[in-house]
Amino acid sequence: MSSTKMILGLFDDPDEMMHGIDLLQKNSVPIYDVYTPMPIHGIEDKLGVKESRLGYAAFCFGCLGGSIIFSLVYYTLVHDWPMNIGGKPHFAIPDFVPFTFEWTILWTAFGMTLSFFFASHLFPGRTPRVMDLRATDDRFVVAIDAKGNVPHDDITRILQEAGAVEIKHNDRKYVSYE
């Protein structure tokens, strides 16, 4: 039995990689993931990746931050320590605007970015699970789960046909750092 866990098609051109994905899909070869050194626009539709919901998270965090600071300013200025300065109203909304605005943005930024890290399993010191070390440099890597995808030679042939500059049959899922 073959010990191959992953079949990697390494391309040096994003257009050829997209062509490779088309060919693999035409031949009903399921793709595990694609790793690239830069964002490739239009690939999400091809691979059926759902649209990110981080925008909703951003909105919720923004509302939360804005509400918290507005409540704090209201509590301190109007309820806990109201001061009569020249008979001016305690609940002076224009003064609330800069604080509410700043904290809406602060919470949006931090909340959304932390959500992104959480969802993508990114955190300081996490062991990088890299398919190929050149995937962050100049290689566009299409990864195919070898298990259940036989015969492997057919996959190799399809990748070759698409213009892959290198094809790897790895017996480890990840190559580095572990």
Binding site: M38, P39, G42, E102, A109, F116, S120, L122, P128, T136
Partner: protein, 490 residues
Amino acid sequence: MASHSESIIREPLVTGKNITYGRVTNEVLFPVENKPNKAWWIGFTVASIGACLWLFAISMTFWYGLGEWGLNKTVGWAWDITGFVWWVGIGHAGTLISAVLLLFRQNWRNSINRAAEAMTIFAVICAATYIVAHMGRPWLAYYCLPLPNQYGSLWVNWNSALMMDVFAISTYFSVSLVFWYTGLLPDIAAIRDRAKGLRQKIYSVLSFGWTGSVKTWQRFETVSLILAGISTPLVLSVHTIVSFDFATSLEPGWHTTIFPPYFVAGAIFSGFAMVQTLLLVVRKVLGLENYITMFHIEAMNKIILVTGSIVGVAYLTEFFIAWYSGGEYEQYTFLNRFIGPYWWAGCMMYGCNILMTQLMWFRKVRINIPISWALSIIVNIGMWFERFVIIVTSLHRDFVPSSWAMFYPTWVDVSVFIGSIGIFFTLFLLFIRVLPSVAIAEVKLLLKSSSEQAKKEQIEHGHLDPEQVEFYKQSLTKFDSVELADYDKV
């Protein structure tokens, strides 16, 4: 990508022949992966001496108090707030380049945003040191925060513009830092995957485990776009709020509603000038001429021209309103800027910011590197004087002539300011040594659509209008690395 084609008549954003994805990584990471050259060491030594000077001068300030500065009973704010507003203003261009230009899909930002964002972070750090230092008792800086305390229901004064400033600057710094670092992750991963030993371990920790999978890229782009969307109003709000420090007072020369837009324009003006100052050197020393091209330099000069002209209009408006308001104190303050004892500072402000900037109407000036560099420094000098004029000339003669006084800086004032420049350059030079000064992933995105080789391919294979091709060829004269002879064969 092939689907992302671009008009042939647009100038290439990446010049040079046979630029590959690997070459971009190699060239940008060259200063990070190799020992620093002589120029870097000289720069770093000079900057470090400046940083030491700052450390000494600020220690003197903290030890003996604000009496070490030349402040007096009349001029209670001088070089400290001048330096603060100047540094915050410089910081603004970074966010503008990374956020506003991203929203407007200006691809030329891709090569310059990383260095500009780093500049923002370091400039805001310099600004923050001024804020903390001028408090007099910096160890009580936390009094600015709305923390529960043992003094009963004692809270911060939310009605104060200075309190708004605390929130604005801290938010601005935090959001800029998040934006910058998130953008760095793919490039840190690129360094990590090429490094060995300890370097690999360090960059591995810093890279957060980035792999570059499709879903991560998709989320990354969503985050970048939303951060750009929220940073755009943020950058406008920050300098608007900084201007409130002055505009909400009754001081003649400060009490004016034009300050918010005028300060924002001034911030962008001085910020772009500092980006220009830094990048013209960086591109030469680090050999990044193919990525930071004459197009980028000219585009930044155009922004300096536009914002400089807006600042000029603001100066005129200030004068007009001072006269039109009929307020004698206001009228005197503006007259005093011309004929008072600080006339020379006023001349520096108007001369550097308005007269010199207008030279950039000439294309020959805009595409001349030494002149552009000199002008960018002149703009920064002019903008420092602008803040000095607003602050000191307004304060030194106000309502009561018996309290009029002059401001004379002490050596501590001067050292803190020069030292802050040292701190800034020390941080910037360390940055270009350990992190890529050009956003590698974003530049790679341009290779298929906006590079010189992609355009040449388009001419070779496409059925283009000869007039357009001719227009494109003519535009190439701007690029010092493009040889027109290559196009004769095409």
